[in-house]
């Protein structure tokens, strides 16, 4: 009599989880590269300007950010990079120090005097859209007196969520 082969009931279904673990690791690497854990700049609501352009910084260039935001008391705060609040006069001193430290000067086509050279520093003004525009005059004046002529105003091309929603 032929022996009946008894079929064993499967105890469980084994799934190979290796590809899923690979995907998870790739996701982690992506987020670790993309995430900035520290606040680099003051939080300001930039105005929307469709003609604003994202310009890649040139190698060797240095860009200073002048942030104009609101404090908790609603007063305007002027900061250079992420530093302490400044007055316009103090901003001028800081810009002059930064220009001297940067040390790259360009010839002034309007004035051959070596004392009147222009700094190669670039300044980007990140001003909250609700701030008083008079602060721009003060920043421009400080940049002019510090021999910095490369000044830009930061804006975003479009905005998809209401920044005042919270």
């Amino acid at each position: 009599m032929a022996r009946k082969k008894q079929k064993k009931m499967p105890e469980g279904v084994d799934m190979d989880m290796t590809p899923m673990i690979d995907i998870v690791f790739l996701l982690i690497v992506f987020f670790m590269v993309v995430t900035e854990l520290t606040v680099q700049q003051a939080v300001v609501v930039l105005p929307v300007a469709s003609e604003s352009r994202v310009e890649e910084p040139q190698p060797g260039s240095r860009i200073l950010f002048v942030n104009v935001s609101f404090g908790k008391d609603g007063k305007e705060i002027l900061q250079l990079m992420n530093g302490s609040p400044l007055t316009p006069e103090r901003l001028l001193l800081e810009l002059k120090a930064e220009a001297d430290a940067y040390g790259i000067w360009e010839d002034n086509p309007f004035n051959p005097d070596p004392e009147k050279k222009l700094s190669g520093l670039e300044v980007t003004i990140r001003c909250d859209q609700g701030a008083k525009a008079g602060v721009i005059h003060k920043i421009f004046a400080a940049c002019k007196d510090a021999a910095i002529y490369k000044v830009r105003c930061a804006a975003i091309g479009d905005r998809f969520e209401d920044p005042y929603a919270n």
Binding site: M17, I21, V24, F25, L27, I28, F31, M32, V34, T35, L37, V45, L46, P47, A49, S50, E51, S52, R53, V54, E55, V68, P88, E89, N108, P109, F110, N111, L118, T124, R126, Q129, G130, A131, K132, A133, G134, V135, I136, H137, K138, F140, A141, C143, K144, A147, Y149, V151, R152, C153, A154, A155, I156, G157, D158, R159, F160, D162, P163, Y164
Partner: protein
């Protein structure tokens, strides 16, 4: 008699339990998914200062320039394009105007005015394009200055100046 230890027939194979590592990996992934904020890149509008630091004596004649003036009257921003008063917009177009509840000047009117001036401009001297001067009061919200600057850039005008207050440090 002491019990003999059972010998595992698969002694050649070392297995490590990876379950804990996978748990930690998932926790890290959840942390980064919650901590990551995607934001749009910030662009800039060029507002390079004159290299002569404003010391030049040659300035375009007033009749040549197109002057846009922004002022704040109460909570309302009013604008003039040359001598023409800019009407107030009917809608709360932007998030800022929705937030304040006050409509701003009609930017299309300003754009049309500058376009007409540009079309009728005859280049004189060094000015190959229509020079535009943006004059704004100190307390005008910065947003409107950028709006006017954006219009000027859209019309490919290169000669842009901000009217200087008497004492900028005040």
């Amino acid at each position: 008699m002491a019990r003999r230890k059972k010998i595992n027939p698969n002694t050649g194979k070392i297995e490590t339990d990876m379950t804990s590592m996978i748990d930690v990996v998932f926790l890290l992934l959840i942390f980064f998914m919650l901590a990551t904020k995607f934001k749009l890149p910030e662009g800039t509008l060029r507002t390079f200062l004159p290299k002569n630091r404003g010391e030049s004596n040659s300035r375009p004649m007033m009749s040549e320039t197109c002057r846009v003036t922004l002022m704040l009257q109460g909570s309302q921003v009013t604008a003039w394009a040359d001598q023409a008063q800019v009407p107030t917009s009917d809608l709360l177009d932007t998030d800022y105007e929705s937030y304040t509840g006050v409509p701003g000047p009609d930017l299309n009117f300003i754009a049309d005015h500058i376009q007409r001036r540009k079309n009728s401009y005859v280049p004189l001297g060094d000015n190959t394009t229509l020079p535009v001067v943006i004059d704004f009061a100190e307390n005008v919200p910065y947003k409107y200055v950028i709006d006017v600057l954006n219009i000027v850039y859209k019309l490919d005008l290169e000669k842009i100046a901000f009217a200087q207050p008497e004492n900028p440090y005040e």
